[in-house]
Structures are given as structure tokens and as C-alpha cells.
Symmetry: C2
DNA sequence: GTATACATTAATGCATACAATCTTCGAGAT
DNA sequence: ATCTCGAAGATTGTATGCATTAATGTATAC
């Protein structure tokens, strides 16, 4: 055997991959909302594949906590409880602190440049107020984790950040992301200066702000969990 | 065709679950070694299910990093590289520190008792030197994570601990786990005393010991990655 | 008028058939 | 003998059909 060129180590064929990617993007951009049903044949029709492929994609989304999968009842966009939301935020903070700790040691000028470019993208998307703004805000953190060089860490950050989109959709009111972008810039600045203390503080503050925006406004009636609503109207 | 042991009546979803659980245990107990191939037909025969079910189980194992899945070539037990191994250990330490931090706050006497019982199990399994000893050593950490009450954290700890079994199988020599058990006991003692500093130190020391046993003995020719061997004979 | 039982519909659970792809092995040429 | 090409076998990729289950609609009994 010659030099091993690592091929894409993802799951089977690129077909379930594209269904997975499409659904994931729809969820993260909040085109599909928590509680929405995901019938296999409808998805299969839209993507031009059979239910077999769709099921593989759904299984993966389920493994990542983005959808619920009830036996004989099918898939729905996950509705994290407040308790789960707190678990996710706590774990996310734990993981992202480690990301920052690694980046302080090894971040390069080229990395900084990519981060700056990303924030520029965020600002542009924010100006047009497109659905991509939400996604890009999360992808900033995913990019940070990827640049940390620890693939395992990066995968977990990817998951918790994605699930945070669900939490925001459920519990938060429509938010202007301007402050998020400023905070992202602060993190970059601290990384550039190799100032670990400030970088971690900035990340902590940023995540705390996101958490508060999500969980403290949970009085908002935005979520679609009918049961908890009906409970209040049943008596 | 072999006789399907599974009863055909019970609502499925449990079926791929049992295939997943069986394969996972075989991997963690090192009955299946890194690099081994996992043909869908053979697995399906042994478990008395069709390839459809097997593929679901394999997809889940892949999502958890226990098997590699190459397109058109099937599944093999994952062979983490040294780099991946380091990533896993680093992430594991990050996560388990958080587990300890939580437990210091909320661990109950009943929790302590369950942990003590588990260590007793470990000692017994170690005496008989059965394949369960390896698994139980890991499950101590999974139990800790479960008791922490953060389900997300628990899931990630479960994954990294499981993957550590792979790393040990690849790079470590057969180890006596006695010291591990002693270290587990130290962690319990520190938790009982609500001594956070000591508990975290004990966990750090324990994981560092495991890491060293795994990675520093990587000169051992035990692993099956032909390339790294050839590299030393090619020049 | 209400509630229970039954029929209908729709969706998922699963196995299997077939297609696409990789692997192996042998024949023929150099 | 070695290399190349190719055909046969083996394994995975995908679609589809049938069985099973949940959800819904309807009728009948009280």
C-alpha cells in the first residue's frame, strides 16, 4: 500500500449525507421548528430518495440530539426541556473553555484571519436579516472548535451549538444578534493578543449572555408543546 | 440460516438496539479488536435479523466513534491514531473534571453506596480475570457521569470512555487493573468527604495514569496498523 | 348525548430483491 | 516469473413490498 489518502470517513454514500445536511440546516436556521413532524416518505419525495436513505439521515440527527425518534410514531424536531437546556449550556461552556485554552497555545495568524472573515460574514448576514444569521452565529463557535485541532472536542462543540439553536427557537424571543457579533470580535481580539484570561472571560460572558437570553425569557409562549399549554387550560 | 433468538413479537427499535449493545460490548471487552471487519451478513445471521437492522446498529456505533465506515467497503472496528487518542484523553479529562465538580455539590449517600458496590464488582471481576474487568473499569466512570445528573455530559463521557477501550486495545499492553481500582476508591473517598480539590486531583491523577499506560507504551508492537510499522523499516 | 367498539387510513418496521461496487483469482502476454 | 486484464464471487447501496402499529373517523349501544 502506498501513502494513505484518507477518504471521507463519513457514513455511507453522499445521499443520506445530503439529506442529513439539508434537514440539519433547516433545523438550525429554524425553518423547521421544535415539535414539527418529519414523515419519512415526504422527506424522501422532496429529496428524491427512498425512505431507506431518509431513515439513515434521521438516525444520525437523532444521535446528535436534534430530533426525537419515537417507535412507530416517527421523527419530530426535538424539544429540549429546560433541564436539558441547562445541561447543554453547562456542557457547552465546559467544552468551549477547553477550546479557548487550546487556541491560546496554538492559534496562528491564518486562523485569526479566518475568524475575522467569518465575523464579516456574520455582519453581512445580519444586515440582510436572512435566516443564515442564526446559523452563522453558531458556526463561529464551530469554527473556533475546529481550529483548536482537537477533532473530538470539535464534534462535541458542533453538537451542543446545534442543539442551542433548538433551545433558542423554543425559549427565546427573536433576538438581534449584534451583541453576539461584538462578543465574537472580543474573543478574536483576546486570542490575537494571546491573552488567555481575557479570552476565557469573554467566552464565559458571551455564553452566559446567550444562556440568559434563552432561558430567562422562557415565559415567552413561543414553544409548541401543546401538552404543557393544555395543562393550564384543562382545569 | 441460524435460528433467530429474538422473539419476533416485541415492537422493534429494540432489535437494532440489541445488536448495537451486543457489538458494543464485544468491542469494549476486546473480543473484537481494532481493525476487525464487521460484515453485515454475518452479523445479521448471528443476531437473527436482516441487514437493515444491522446497518442501523452500525450507523450508531459509527456515530459514537467505535467503528469506521468506508463507502462500499463496510465497517471495521475503529483504530484511533495516536493523535486521535490524545484528543480523546484530553476531552475526557475536560469532561470528567466537570463531572467531579457537579458531584461535589450534589452527591448523595445513596450515590456513594452505588459507587462502592460498583468497585466491589470490579474487584470480583478482577479476581476472576474475566473480560468483564475491562468493561467494569470503564463503567465506573460512566456511572460517575450518570450520577452527575447532566445527561449530555453523561453521554459524552460514555463515548470517550468507550473509545478509550479501543485505545487500550491498540496501544497498551495487558494491564493489571488493581491500581485503577485503588484510584477509583480514592475518588469515592474524596467525594464522600466533599473534598473537591482532592477529588479532582485524584481524577486527574487517575486519568493521567491511564493515559500514560496507554500512550507511553506505544512501542509495543501489538497494534495492527501496518503503515506505522513499515515507516520504521522503509528508510 | 356520550362513550365504546369497529373500520379505515396513514405511517413506520422490517425483510428482501436487485443494482453498483469492490475483491479475488486466473489466463494470457511480455 | 511477473504483470495486466478481466471475469466471477462477495459485499455493500438502495428501492420497494408487505406486515405491523398508531391515529382517525364512524357507527352503534346505552
Amino acid at each position: 500500500m502506498n501513502v494513505p489518502i484518507r477518504k471521507p470517513k463519513t457514513t455511507s454514500g453522499t445521499r443520506s449525507e445530503s439529506v442529513y445536511a439539508g434537514l440539519r440546516r433547516a433545523i438550525i436556521e429554524q425553518a423547521l421548528m421544535p415539535g414539527d413532524k418529519l414523515p419519512e416518505d415526504i422527506i424522501g419525495d422532496r429529496f428524491g430518495v427512498s425512505r431507506t436513505i431518509v431513515r439513515a439521515a434521521l438516525a444520525r440527527l437523532h444521535a446528535e440530539g436534534l430530533i426525537d425518534l419515537q417507535p412507530n410514531k416517527g421523527a419530530t424536531i426535538a424539544q429540549p426541556s429546560l433541564s436539558e437546556a441547562q445541561d447543554i449550556f453547562e456542557t457547552r461552556m465546559c467544552l468551549e473553555r477547553q477550546v479557548i485554552a487550546r487556541l491560546i497555545e496554538k492559534v496562528t495568524d491564518r486562523d485569526i484571519e479566518r475568524l475575522e472573515q467569518h465575523v464579516a460574514l456574520e455582519m453581512k448576514a445580519n444586515a440582510h436579516d436572512g435566516p443564515a444569521a442564526i446559523r452563522l452565529a453558531g458556526e463561529f463557535h464551530i469554527l473556533l472548535a475546529a481550529l483548536s485541532g482537537n477533532g473530538v472536542l470539535a464534534r462535541y462543540v458542533n453538537e451542543v451549538v446545534s442543539r442551542c439553536s433548538l433551545i433558542l427557537a423554543l425559549y427565546s424571543r427573536p433576538h438581534s444578534s449584534d451583541c453576539s457579533i461584538n462578543e465574537h470580535q472580543q474573543i478574536i481580539d483576546a486570542l490575537r493578543a494571546r491573552d488567555g484570561r481575557t479570552a476565557i472571560d469573554a467566552m464565559d460572558h458571551h455564553l452566559q449572555a446567550v444562556t440568559d437570553r434563552a432561558l430567562l425569557s422562557s415565559n415567552s409562549e413561543k414553544h409548541r408543546d401543546i401538552r404543557s399549554i393544555l395543562d393550564r387550560y384543562a382545569s
